[in-house]
């Protein structure tokens, strides 16, 4: 497990558009860069980021080596119901991590 930061409001009014900011600690090694020994360092990136809200997929991103290290992504969604957001990052070398955040919608 690596460190992931998620900035999401804990409460929201029904129908309100909320902004969610996410950041995860990851090198995003491009696979184009030589290491200290002169050999190209193998690629190690996060390829996919998926967000589910109460089980339904609301946002996803395909990432490529040109995404900066420690990928930061911010996006919006409409607060429709109380529930949980689940954030999943999938990457090379079998990397997968899921974080959940609860929201109360009034």
């Amino acid at each position: 497990m690596v460190r992931a930061l998620i900035n999401c409001p804990k409460t929201a009014k029904k129908g309100e558009v909320i902004e969610i900011k996410t950041m995860i600690s990851h090198v995003m090694e491009t696979g184009y860069r030589p290491g200290a020994d002169g050999k190209v360092v193998p690629r190690d990136i996060l390829r996919r980021f998926t967000v589910r809200y109460a089980g339904e997929e609301i946002f996803s991103a395909d990432l490529y080596p040109a995404t900066a290290a420690n990928p930061f992504i911010s996006f919006h969604t409409v607060a429709t119901q109380s529930g949980t957001f689940s954030f999943t990052w999938d990457g090379d070398n079998g990397f997968t991590q899921t974080e959940t955040v609860a929201i109360i919608v009034t």
């Binding site: 558009v17 909320i18 491009t30 184009y32 860069r33 030589p34 809200y53 339904e56 997929e57 609301i58 946002f59 996803s60 991103a61 395909d62 990432l63 490529y64 080596p65 040109a66 995404t67 900066a68 290290a69 990928p71 930061f72 992504i73 911010s74 996006f75 919006h76 969604t77 409409v78 429709t80």
Partner: protein
Amino acid sequence: MTVITRRMAIASSLGGLSLLVLRPQAFATPTELAGAIAEFTGGATPQRGRLKLDLPPLVENGNSVSVTLRADSPMAPQDHVRAMAIFTEQNPQPNVATFRFGPRAGRAVVNTRMRLATSQKVIAVAGYSDGSFWSDQVEVIVTLAACVE
């Protein structure tokens, strides 16, 4: 002033040659860029407008450049942005990131951070639910490039 000997001239020309030979595919070509955009749009040519790509025109550090995509859309079930993507002209790969939304996104705005290998053109394309594609492009100058070599 140093006198350039025949030996030095040969050595330097060999050095130049090896530089040319040892850098295969360091940058994406315009055809690769066109191919990546065509793959995203399904062959359609995007029109200019309806999408705003926000990127600083002068980038000091190419390793992490904040980029914002802002599409003009009501995000209603019958009229919303389905996907947005960022492409570069001269990074090793043309693709940077592709974002997919639904009408539940509320606002078609995404902010992320990207790498820039050199001063170049950055292109963003948005695909709408009616099947149309819109794009915006920005020329950026990069002082410190992201390390690819």
